[in-house]
């Protein structure tokens, strides 16, 4: 309070990884500047700030860059520690939180992304089954809880939530007859998504439907032309 903080986020509008950081910053009430990157023509700022992996999101706090979305979220939680903790205080609960956040990224996200891209192609069924297996595991984690974080939103909710919201919009835009996170198959997750939608921060971070629709159309045109 009273200190001039400069917080910049290098991002793209479509990235669920950047989406997480936006949710985290908004939950904490941090003022920040979004800098939209063109990934086909990366800015000097991006290349200087994340020379090793050259990816977004990158958080630049008072000139110091932080990369990798899970790392950024822990940083945000440590620096802006007065509001809305993303990680619990108890070490064992923290370890579990980190475990599930990692699971979301390495297993759930990766398998769902594959399943989406392989829809209607050879191996698509197997990819979908793998994605569903990971969703079943996450569904089980929600038993007896409102959010993955318990009674309030936490790191895992933010890690998965931004992606889940994007998926729903993607399903709509693509005219999928079955949602990836199908509420019939995964009722707890369905409730969880509804609860997320009620939160002010989520309402203010709606995925860019128009941009998504344009991106999906562009991909379709590419495959048609190939």
């Amino acid at each position: 309070m009273g200190e001039v903080e400069e917080v910049k986020l290098l991002m793209t509008g479509l990235s669920p990884f950047a989406g997480r950081i936006i949710w985290a910053l908004k939950l904490k009430g941090v003022e920040f500047e979004s800098v939209e990157e063109d990934l086909t023509n990366k800015s000097d700022l991006l290349l200087q700030s994340n020379p090793v992996r050259q990816k977004i999101p990158v958080l630049i706090h008072n000139g110091k860059p932080v990369s990798e979305s899970l790392v950024i979220m822990e940083y945000i939680d440590e620096v802006w520690n007065q509001t809305c903790p993303l990680l619990p205080a108890d070490p064992h609960q923290r370890a579990l939180t980190r475990f599930w956040a990692k699971f979301v990224d390495e297993k759930a996200f990766a398998s769902m992304w594959s399943a989406l891209q392989m829809r209607g192609k050879e191996g698509g069924e197997a990819a979908l089954e793998e994605a569903h297996e990971n969703l079943r595991i996450l569904e089980k984690e929600l038993e007896g809880k409102q959010f993955f974080g318990g009674e309030s939103i936490g790191l895992v909710d933010v890690t998965f939530g931004s992606f889940a919201k994007l998926l729903d919009v993607l399903d709509e835009v693509m005219g999928s007859d079955k949602k990836m996170i199908d509420e019939d198959k995964f009722p707890l997750m369905g409730k969880w998504k509804e609860q997320l939608s009620e939160l002010a921060v989520v309402k203010s971070c709606l995925p860019p439907v128009d941009k998504l629709a344009a991106a999906v159309q562009a991909r379709r045109n590419e495959s048609a032309a190939a």
């Binding site: 110091k64 990369s67 790392v71 950024i72 822990e74 940083y75 064992h92």
Partner: protein, 235 residues
């Protein structure tokens, strides 16, 4: 092993695994005794399957029967619980972010190429993996020079999070160099800092009984590669 103030501490693992080495080094740094429950090569114990049903992988820490999984997560847990001992993560939030970044880099970008080089079915694939490893070494050399503040370790004067994450790979790195016919990953000319660091790290009291001899890893690697080949052939 009784650790009256530490509770019941068990670690499920196996000596060749670099991931298992991480919590072992962390425990040594904190002077915490633990019971090492070694898995048999080629099979998974009921305790492991019960304690880590999601991934079924080692290491798993059982602290008063509560399981903690994923090596870097276990190391952070150890640092937080046994906070009276020397710290493993740095105290500054930005430094912590840098440490976590490089630990993630080792696991997500660097280590898969170790697997790739070992299990490569063609010269091309092997060379590609080695190329990636060498690029990684150059990046890590740069990181070391930037982060060590002129001292011996990534963590400064004492071993820290990046040292443990990357240092745990040294036995396999050295084995790979031999197995690939003298390929230089630790290179006096290209990675002089890391060469010095590797020697210091390996000799550290918290590390020297945990990091296996290169020959033992080579022997084990041959078993592993054979197992992977036969698994691939029968699938």
């Amino acid at each position: 092993m009784a650790n009256n103030n530490n509770g019941d501490v068990k670690l499920i693992g196996a000596w060749p695994s670099p991931f298992v080495m991480r919590p072992r080094i962390a425990f040594n740094i904190k002077s915490v005794e633990y019971e090492f429950l070694e898995e048999q090569f080629g099979s998974k114990s009921d305790l492991l399957l019960k304690s880590n049903p999601v991934h079924k992988k080692i290491p798993v820490l059982l602290h008063n029967d509560k399981p903690i999984c994923e090596s870097n997560i276990i190391v952070e847990y150890i640092d937080e619980v046994w906070s009276a001992g020397p710290s493993i993560l740095p105290s500054d939030a930005h430094d912590r972010a840098v440490a976590r970044f490089w630990a993630a880099y080792v696991d997500e970008k660097w280590f898969p190429n170790v697997r790739g080089a070992l299990n490569a079915s063609s010269e091309e694939a092997k060379n590609a993996a080695v190329g990636q490893l060498k690029e990684g070494m150059a990046l890590l050399e740069g990181a070391y020079e930037e982060i060590n503040k002129g001292k011996d370790f990534f963590g400064g004067e004492k071993i820290g999070f990046i040292d443990i994450s990357f240092g745990s790979m040294l036995a396999w790195l050295r084995a790979l160099q031999v197995m690939l016919g003298g390929v230089k990953l630790l290179d006096e000319e290209k990675t002089p800092g890391l060469c010095k660091w590797a020697a210091k790290f390996s000799a550290d009291p918290a590390v020297k009984d945990v990091l296996p001899e290169t020959d033992k890893i080579i022997e084990f690697a041959k078993l592993l590669v054979a197992k992977n080949k036969s698994a691939a052939a029968s699938s």
